[in-house]
């Protein structure tokens, strides 16, 4: 079966410490003022004292039907056979169409390179057999990554056991980040 790289994020295990954001900045030399990943904080929802709060980490969803790809006039944005969506800097002209097209606001124009920039799944780490920086450092074991088509992967096992959702499914991009909101007591072992 083909490889389909994606993320599973367990929101119930996220404490919004943002270690993932700093790890990504270090690993990928993301310029100050921009970020390739994020954690959204709902703030206290409800009326005092009955309130709740949710934290939702995210980054490029490496969509099955990426809207950034279809609007790219030069073919700079491309999807690899393993599903990872990348930008070829040699082809990117910095027109920002893709930045506008992304329903998840996952892209920005890198002021140093002048090119569209976003999460690369830490490809340089994957090639060394390492997990992406955000996954590696996550204190709560909230972020997971792997091959969604491989039944032995952590992400597949998590999706088998727990209900999950995607963000903005209406956008029709078929994002490859799945969110689990229920408690996950133990992280299954896997690739």
């Amino acid at each position: 079966m083909t490889v389909r790289m994606g993320f599973v994020i367990i929101t119930s295990r996220c404490i919004d410490c943002d270690a993932c954001m700093v790890a990504c900045r270090a690993e990928n030399e993301v310029p100050i003022g921009f970020t390739r990943n994020w954690v959204t904080d709902s703030g206290a929802v409800g009326k005092f004292p009955i309130v709740k709060q949710m934290f939702e980490p995210g980054n490029c969803m490496h969509c099955e039907k990426p809207s950034c790809l279809s609007v790219c006039p030069t073919g700079a944005t491309y999807k690899r056979a393993d599903g990872i969506v990348l930008v070829d800097d040699t082809k990117c002209i910095g027109c920002k169409y893709c930045i506008e097209a992304c329903p998840y606001d996952a892209r920005f124009l890198n002021p140093v390179t002048g090119k569209a920039d976003k999460c690369t799944f830490c490809l340089q780490r994957l090639e060394q057999g390492l997990k992406p920086a955000c996954v590696q450092t996550c204190l709560g074991k909230a972020r997971h990554s792997g091959d969604l088509n491989d039944p032995e992967s952590v992400v597949s096992k998590l999706l088998n056991r727990y209900p999950a959702r995607q963000l903005s499914p209406d956008a029709g991009t078929r994002p490859n980040i799945y969110y689990i909101d229920v408690p996950v007591a133990e992280i299954p072992s896997g690739t």
Binding site: D16, C17, Q128, G129, L139, P183, V184
Partner: protein, 735 residues
């Protein structure tokens, strides 16, 4: 005439960009395309110190807070590119928090002090000249000798905070002979440590999160005050469905994972007394444990008779039914149930009593040394390092300026009362302090009533600061002795259980800086006290510390840690309580001796007046106390502190999020942005501490947010010496 520098010149961004290091960093960044494949490294664990295409991995220990996590640093062609958690380190199990991940920015910060500086204008003028190490150390030693000769060693104050080389700073202070030593303890957890010390004879018992089924936090916010492995364990605990209760007037990120009880500030004591009341009245305590290991239960029974849940509801504003339910749930989970010892608790003068009540509640649960309960002191089960021989210390002559023990007879000598020490620089009583040597601490921002601290500094003949950055206290110093950052230096070794860990230089120092180990040593030599720190250099010291073991320093450097073979844990002393009775003292022998009520008792906290609010302070996961606010990577995720106001309060004031307000206490006034939320009691204002820096040497932190220490009143609990930071009341108005 030497060149005089202003702060702006010393710490300009331009100067940094021009520097060779930055050029190397930028060059490296430009050269490494994301798709450029690198040699396969496999698991980072097994490839440490391997050198492949100029890349090496070095084990060390983090210092972005005081928790000491294991780090593996990736260094490419002399530039530190990535820090990752050491999976074999017990403090963090392979993970780094945001601060740990941002250590690279601390290393390469333009705000680093790059060479020794001697003041070249009035104190606080911001005029400096570059000095050689020899001149700066000679100058420091001369000032310290002059003070000792003229006024005695006692006129010199030493200050430091929790760090790996602190024991060697303490050796220097003892060799110098002053009784005056200040640490962060009284600003942090004195009430907890004394409360537990006087109950169990153990100042800081551990907590077995992994097996605990019921946890009550009342001043420990692990999601925002990150202690790496404990935070991980707390998250796991919540995930496996253990009950977590959080008492906090503010809806913290820990509370977001738990049952939140928005307790009235200062009344945690009433809550715990009522829990004890229920356990006693309903006979839900561990009677066998209580009779075997404790004393004073009968006295407790009498004392808590009136502390009913109904009574506590009036104090705490938590419904009596909720209090009773929690008491029953807690008892049902015992002994795998913990009322966490916390750190600052509610931060009121009655916090010592609150900690005593918490300590006693745990005893009633019988959770001592049981799975899921409190963990006895493990120092006996920690590998011992080799010690360095030194001459006997001179007697430290004179009363202590912090009032211990003459004003605070119950504060353990090692803890001290820092805020009182500062006050007595100003009063000149019982004698006038003349000098202050501060290593990696920032009293201007850490002690309540900032202006008083600045005034105290201005009164002194000499003030010297050892730090990596031009912090706010360094700004007012006469001399700054610049320390190498934690990624550039050795420190004393760290034993944890049967393992010994090393902090070692990941790269050579970028600037003309030294390790604190060598600064202390060389200063000692200039003071004629060199024999007290008998090492030639850092490696010589570490070799001496390793003497009891067969491992070489080189091997320790290569592997990052050493496991002592055949180390046997000794639990025979787990129930040998170091109290006057040898038992867990529900009724404290020391309290009785001092003529005070021996069992935990109610002390009503003061309430704010009309139009006043409680001022609450606390932590954020993205910063450490007052020393990371200059880190740009952390400012990206937490740029400034804001004053939390409840929606109804904001509406009344006519402000919305990000509008400015003025907050005034009895002692100070600040301007700060507002954060409007339903997650705080309407009678309280909250702000994260550590912002509002006054040093222009802190390039990116200067002018951001506001300092809680500008507002805090200086209060010291007469029993524990703990500062009562939340016992400051404020008025808020639209700016």
């Amino acid at each position: 005439m030497p060149k005089i520098y202003t702060w702006d010149q010393l710490f300009s961004r331009r100067q940094f960009i021009k520097g060779g290091v930055a050029a190397a960093a930028l060059g490296a960044a430009a050269g490494s395309g994301l798709l450029h494949p690198k040699p396969g490294l496999g698991d980072a664990r097994s490839t440490v110190a391997s050198t492949l295409s100029g890349t090496k991995y070095v084990y060390t220990i983090c210092e972005q807070c005081v928790w000491r996590c294991g780090v593996i640093a990736r260094v490419e062609n002399g530039v530190v590119r990535k820090l990752e958690g050491n999976p074999d380190h017990p403090n963090n199990a392979g993970k780094l928090c945001p601060r740990g991940n941002a250590g690279i920015e601390t290393l390469y910060s333009p705000s680093r002090v790059k060479f020794p500086l001697i003041r070249a204008g009035a104190r606080g003028s911001g005029l400096w000249r570059r000095a050689s190490w020899d001149e700066a150390l000679t100058y420091t030693a001369e000032q310290m000798k002059k003070i000792k000769d003229k006024y005695g060693a006692k006129a010199m104050i030493f200050n430091s905070t929790d760090n790996l080389s602190q024991p060697f700073f303490e050796t220097l202070l003892k060799a110098y002979g002053t009784p005056n030593y200040g640490t962060q303890r009284s600003l942090c957890f004195n009430s907890m440590t004394t409360g537990f010390l006087y109950t169990y004879g153990v100042a800081q018992p551990g907590t077995d999160y992994a097996n605990c089924n019921y946890m009550i936090f009342s001043g420990r916010n692990l999601a925002e005050g990150i202690s790496n492995i404990e935070t991980q364990e707390m998250i796991d605990m919540v995930a496996r469905g253990a009950k977590v209760v959080v008492l906090d007037p503010r809806f913290t990120k820990t509370a977001a994972k738990a049952e939140w009880l928005p307790i009235r500030p200062g009344t945690d004591l009433a809550f715990f007394l009522a829990l004890i009341n229920v356990l006693v009245n309903e006979k839900l305590y561990d009677a066998k444990f209580v009779s075997q290991y404790t004393q004073g239960f009968d006295e407790l029974t009498k004392e808590v008779a009136t502390y009913t849940p109904q009574w506590a509801e009036v104090q705490t504003e938590i419904p009596a039914g909720t209090i009773r339910r929690i008491a029953r749930e807690f008892a049902a989970s015992a002994p795998a149930a913990i009322a966490h010892p916390n750190w600052r608790t509610s931060n009121f003068l009655n916090s010592f009593q609150a900690e005593r009540a918490i300590a006693v509640l745990n005893a009633l649960a019988g959770n001592w040394a049981k799975p899921g309960g409190l963990i006895p002191d493990q120092s006996i089960n920690t590998a011992k390092l080799g010690t360095l021989p030194h001459p006997s210390y001179p007697a430290a002559v004179g009363m202590r300026l912090d009032g211990v023990p003459w004003q605070f007879p119950m504060v353990p000598l090692a803890y001290g009362v820092l805020q009182v020490m500062r006050d007595n620089i100003l009063t000149g009583k019982p004698y006038q302090a003349k000098g202050w040597l501060i290593s990696r601490q920032n009293p201007v921002l850490s002690i309540p009533e900032r202006q008083k601290t600045i005034n105290a500094i201005m009164k002194l003949d000499f003030i010297g600061v050892i730090d990596i950055m031009a912090n706010d206290t360094a700004y007012y110093a006469d001399v700054i002795l610049p320390e190498s950052s934690y990624l550039e230096r050795y420190d004393g070794l760290v034993p944890i259980g049967d393992e010994i860990f090393i902090r070692q230089p990941v790269i050579k120092p970028l600037y003309d800086t030294k390790s604190s180990l060598m600064i202390y040593k060389e200063l000692a030599v200039k003071l004629g006290l060199g024999d007290f720190l008998p090492y030639q250099d850092e490696k010589d010291l570490l070799v001496q510390e390793l003497k009891p073991y067969t491992v070489s320093l080189e091997e320790l450097e290569r592997k990052g840690h050493y496991r002592v073979p055949n180390f046997k844990e000794d639990h025979s002393k787990d129930f040998a309580f170091q109290t006057s009775s040898g038992k867990i003292e529900i009724a404290s022998g020391i309290m009785a001796q001092m003529g005070k009520k021996a069992v935990p008792t109610w002390e009503a906290p003061p309430k704010p007046g009309p139009d006043e609010f409680y001022l609450l302070t606390g932590k954020t996961a993205q910063h450490s106390q007052m020393f990371t606010q200059d880190n740009r990577w952390l400012l990206e995720i937490f740029p400034e502190n804001k004053a939390w106001l409840h929606t109804t309060v904001a509406k009344k004031l006519g402000v919305k999020t990000d509008d400015m307000v003025i907050i005034e206490s009895e002692v100070g006034k600040i301007r700060i942005k507002v954060y409007v939320t339903e997650g705080i009691r309407p009678d309280s204002v909250f702000m994260v501490g550590g912002f509002g820096h006054v040093s222009k040497g802190l390039h990116f932190a200067y002018g951001r947010g506001a300092s809680d220490s500008a507002l805090h009143k200086s209060l010291a609990d007469p029993i524990s010496g703990s500062s009562a930071l939340s016992q400051t009341f404020v008025r808020v108005s639209k700016a």
